[in-house]
């Protein structure tokens, strides 16, 4: 398992243990990866996150066209393998989860433990940090002194 946000690791570890999912990807609604389990190449992760975010964006628009509330989850079920894709809210904004599971588990177990994962993430998320200044107040002075030091002027 790899996680960009360390507080995601414990809830995700619990989910993986209970659900027996083969692959799991947590990402922001724009497709930025937050954590992953089971992917072996960075390219796979990026492609999967982009496609997952695209699918959820499409279903969101489809729901709008149909005049219904946005769909929270999509399930693709094939022979011996299934994909569960769901959107959920966290203190860090709306995230998406993409779970690939096989015959060793079931859709019901994945759905149930994914719901628990979203609750655990909500509890584990640290308080939102106050927005920081992009540039320090004395950035220009420091830049000038650094340039003077570099070029001797």
């Amino acid at each position: 398992m790899r996680a960009i946000e360390p507080w995601v690791e414990a809830p995700l570890g619990g989910f993986l243990k209970e659900s027996a999912a083969r692959l799991t990807l947590l990402m922001t609604s724009s497709g930025q990866v937050v954590a992953q389990h089971g992917f072996t190449r960075s390219l796979d992760v990026m492609a999967a996150s982009a496609l997952g975010a695209g699918i959820m964006a499409s279903t969101f628009e489809l729901a709008k066209v149909m005049g219904i509330r946005p769909l929270d989850a999509v399930v693709h079920q094939g022979t011996g393998v299934g994909i569960y894709l769901a959107a959920f809210d966290t203190p860090r904004g709306r995230w998406l989860g993409l779970v690939v599971f096989g015959d060793e588990t079931s859709l019901g177990l994945v759905q149930y433990f994914f719901a628990r994962l979203t609750e655990d993430l909500g509890r584990a998320a640290p308080a939102a940090e106050p927005p920081r200044q992009v540039l320090a107040e004395d950035f220009e002075d420091e830049l000038n002194s650094s340039l003077r030091a570099l070029f001797g002027r």
Binding site: S106, G108, L109, Y112, A115
Partner: protein, 113 residues
């Protein structure tokens, strides 16, 4: 039709809830459960349990089990295999009349499809 089957089961004293579950997927098809009972959790875990029991009986060279009965100190769980991979599930208190419930579940399982 499925609701009627479940209502018949919940009329038996000691039954806290009855569900029809897709056995392979472990998801709820229909449910009538008392407040505080998480039907989705029951469906997911019963589906998983039934799949494991099928694995056990298969490994022993037997046919799939027709009825599962899990008994705990505070209650029990019964699951009867119906047609099309459906499970008819009942959650009970410890003092339920198990014989009556087994008969009712097996009858319901025959009709559930």
């Amino acid at each position: 039709m499925l609701r009627e089957l479940l209502t018949g089961l919940t009329r038996i004293a000691g039954v806290r809830g009855a569900l029809i579950v897709s056995g392979k997927d472990g998801i709820v098809v229909a449910e009538t459960v008392m407040e505080g009972v998480d039907g989705r959790a029951v469906a997911a875990l019963t589906g998983s349990l039934a799949a494991r029991m099928r694995g056990v009986t298969g490994a022993l060279g037997h046919t799939d089990p027709g009825l599962l009965h899990l008994q705990g100190p505070d209650g029990g769980l019964f699951a009867a295999a119906g047609r099309a991979g459906l499970l008819v599930v009942a959650l009970t208190t410890a003092d339920v009349n198990a014989g009556e419930l087994r008969l009712a579940l097996l009858r319901a399982a025959e009709r559930a499809a």
